[in-house]
Assembly symmetry: C2
Amino acid sequence: MKIAIDAMGGDNAPSIVIEGIALALKKFSDFEAVIVGNETQLKPFLEEFKIADHDRIEVVHADEVVTMGEPSTIALRSKKNSSITVAATLVSKGKADAIVSAGHTGAAVAATTVKIRTMEGIERPAIATIMPARDGKFILCDAGANTDCKPQNLAQFAIMAEAYYKLMFGKEEPTIGLLSVGEEDAKGNDLTKETFKILSGMPINFIGNVEGNDMFEKKADIVVCDGFVGNVVLKNSEGLAKTIMFWLKRSFTKKIIRKIGALLAKGAFEDLKKMSDKNEYGGAPLLGLKKPCIIGHGSSNAVAIMNAIRVAREFLNADVNDKISKRITESNISID
Amino acid sequence: MKIAIDAMGGDNAPSIVIEGIALALKKFSDFEAVIVGNETQLKPFLEEFKIADHDRIEVVHADEVVTMGEPSTIALRSKKNSSITVAATLVSKGKADAIVSAGHTGAAVAATTVKIRTMEGIERPAIATIMPARDGKFILCDAGANTDCKPQNLAQFAIMAEAYYKLMFGKEEPTIGLLSVGEEDAKGNDLTKETFKILSGMPINFIGNVEGNDMFEKKADIVVCDGFVGNVVLKNSEGLAKTIMFWLKRSFTKKIIRKIGALLAKGAFEDLKKMSDKNEYGGAPLLGLKKPCIIGHGSSNAVAIMNAIRVAREFLNADVNDKISKRITESNISID
């Protein structure tokens, strides 16, 4: 089992990526790391984290990187020798079985979709993100890969997210909700009303529409939506959480007595930070490709990279793609 | 100046609605309240709040109410004698100049749109909601009136929200952002890409795309989107804020030392609550109708009702509709 890792992707690459790979090599004995990046830049870190001579690594040189401000398409147009494009190409050629990147999300989606391609019966890949609910977690899918979708795409996202939920949380029939603006089936926009009908006829645990506030109360294990809405929700949630913490901090530092209170209750704030820890699951998979693809958050730390590798391994070990294929066939969703 | 008030709408109607009207009558001498609802039920509250014999009230009987679980269309179909429909009819017949309701939002939108109708040149009315940013406030429009929109609709929302922003915050050229999934003009879905082009050519202070996280940093005074996305964002924000407060409370009560800390810092939590006070502006206007229509939150208190009446008066006093008309003509947005 070979996992191609984009060593140049992420805010703190390549240092923390190499550190994460070193952690994963220690923890998991069943995979080989194909490390893609600028050899000269990687060398000191491979030495620092003592894996330069490890028997389960291989370094593949790529002399370019897609940086955060660049358009997604650059990975396929002018920067064909970027680490993400080279890693995706390795997978497409059968030289690796899965891919991990904490770099530019759009570039990763573009490069993997074009190089690795979608599984048979899947028209569009989708990003599945694990989000914290009041109690437990839920999966939001699509969190940003597709800005314009057909109802059939959303139906496929439901099947793909179901397989991912089973893998991560071991629940056999996770509940699936459709993100909309009212609970009744007649509520929503043209896309969700049509999707509602398709989901109702599928062999899944569909519980109907869920609203923006229902998600955090975990009315459904999986919340399905198009990637435009999903990305807005994801970023809205991140932005609001940050803003509330900002307000709290500002208010806590206004008066001495509050400062003392905040000091005593320090642990509570640390608990809160843990609730939205992005490193625990290593990132979000791009579901529906022929090979597993895990996209880490730009701010991934070494533990996040190790977890992304862990999840990629689990995808392969559990044959998640094979399971999705079977469920897609069973569900008989026709794409025009 | 006569303002029709749906006395039966809201979680605590008619009690708090009558209390709010009494407050408004004391504070503002320039309006008459046309109180619409079940006369028998209203009587004791009119007496309790000492306005039964007030010379600036008139009670118009309506024997039905649209309740929260009912479909929006019921206001126009089977419950034609509901308080919201009767109030909207009064406005349409010139017997009142504006309308205030804290009842069923969908029913209020349906009844007012059909009875009062949109202004010339406006195809669809839109809900404008004031939301708290890190510092200051921003307006989200449309927050839920239209689930499927054309680019021209969004362009009109921008003009209408601009007039409302000027009225509420006195800023002459508020900045306008388009809610999307990336900053570049080529980012977004089909709707936002087309809208971007139209907004760029309009005589407004358009600053380009804003993302879900940018809103709370107040990159723009006004954030324009379709009502499906707007409603999801609004409810997502309410749900997440509630969830974060739940987590904090749970975590603060875990240990004695934290409980003491929370007690000392009590004021900080009260500050936080004030940040998202929904009663301050009395609700959200449904912009674009021939007469001002203010929709209060279901959980409105008496101060919120008073503020909704205050805002309705300000709409009339400042001729906001007239200003919107002129700006629509200047902007020359063609609706196919």
